[in-house]
């Protein structure tokens, strides 16, 4: 335990060289959620977020698409310490009209990520996985599209804003979230995983959830909420009220900053820097407050 703390703190201090860190506030939390205070609830831990792997994609934005996910698995396996769990925030596979190909891609994806040493893994769909069949193939391969779990004093809720192709959570899921959080104290840390941004980051680019404001309004009751999502293929940090929203890099190709160009299109592949803009994220929860620290890992140059 002490070794973990020491190593993680050293690691966070060192990230200025190879990545960026972002402290996501869960300040002032005096009591961790999860029932009776246990040793588990007090332990520091970290997890890894991987996003937008788009297995099955081929095209000029990433001519080496067959390798990128496998390299990411190797990079995560090479971390000096094992994460408690790994979460994939959607678009595991690239879309296809062919239901058989969709299932084949999902099976191949599962086979590749089975090489991860960390065996506790959580999945959710992106629109590429689920919007053409209302999540049917995803559920066959990975289970439910919205659910929750608790881990060492933090409550995690996974939201599905893609199985409805109109990019909606739907009232039934929002009611489910309300019930899911019912027993969570207002000052307890809550982490939300989802694919699309819940807020209107750039509706002109389809970077929004049609009824995301309903979820944000609901979550406003809790004082320390952090949302991790994907979809936009780049790191992005924004607050809505007290809620922190963090988008992750993709593992297929980067997209431009919101509304920074006339037309949204993948950033052109650079053969000199074939992994530029690709990466994953480590999130450490520490202290009784469960303060979150983010470390952004680049796939470029083996850093």
């Amino acid at each position: 335990m002490s070794s973990f703390k020491t190593n993680r703190r050293q690691f966070i201090k060192l990230i200025g060289v190879g990545g960026a860190v972002f402290a996501s506030g869960l300040p002032g939390v005096r009591r961790a959620f999860g029932g009776p205070k246990s040793r588990n609830a007090a332990e520091d831990f970290f997890f890894v977020q991987l996003s937008d792997t788009h297995w099955g994609f081929s095209g000029p934005p990433n001519p080496e698409a067959e390798n990128t996910l496998k390299e990411a698995v190797a990079r995560v396996n090479a971390l000096p310490q094992a994460a408690d769990f790994i979460v994939f925030t959607g678009d595991l596979t690239h879309t296809t009209d062919d239901a058989a190909v969709r299932r084949k891609r999902m099976a191949e994806f599962k086979e590749i990520v089975s090489g991860l040493k960390v065996k506790t893994r959580y999945y959710m769909p992106g629109e590429h996985d689920a919007s053409l069949d209302a999540g049917k193939a995803f559920q066959e391969g990975f289970g439910r599209t919205h659910y929750s779990f608790d881990h060492k004093g933090v409550h995690f809720s996974v939201l599905d804003n893609v199985s409805d192709p109109e990019a909606k959570l739907g009232d039934a899921q929002i009611d489910w979230l309300r019930g899911d959080l019912k027993g969570v104290p207002a000052d307890a840390p809550v982490v939300i995983f989802t694919h699309r941004p819940l807020f209107d980051l750039a509706p002109q680019w389809d970077w929004a959830t049609k009824d995301g404001a309903k979820a944000i309004d609901l979550l406003g009751h809790w004082k320390h909420v952090t949302v991790f999502y994907g979809h936009i293929h780049q790191e992005h940090h924004q607050m809505t009220g007290d809620i922190a929203h963090h988008a992750a890099k993709s593992l297929i190709f980067p997209l431009p900053a919101p509304m920074s160009v006339a037309k949204k299109a993948p950033v052109a592949w650079d053969p000199e820097h074939p992994r530029r803009g690709l990466g994953f994220r480590e999130i450490t929860a520490s202290g009784p407050e469960r303060a979150l620290a983010l470390k952004e890992d680049s796939m470029e140059g083996g850093k």
Partner: protein
Amino acid sequence: MTRAASAVLAILLWGWAPSATAGKPERVIHITAKRFEFAPATIELKVGEPVILELSSLDRKHGFAAPDLHINAVIQPGKPTRVRLVPDRAGTFEFHCSVFCGSGHEDMTGQLVVRP
């Protein structure tokens, strides 16, 4: 209300539309949607001219979203959706399909060009 939202008055008309407003008939503009394009993709309008966009799908469910105008309509196959607009400011307003429809969904876009 934002500046963009005040630029154009948009009203969704589900399955019907008046043929005219007081003294000024509405021009009906037919727009088809199919994977992965709108036709026409560029629609020219004039400030102050009321129009109805009649949106029809040729294949599957699509969407027609122009967020700067606060328009986000669903287009069901076999059931045209009508959107009434009265542009009150010149400009170019992007629209896109807001119902994920496959690998070319991201390219299913167009423009409303409002002339003075």
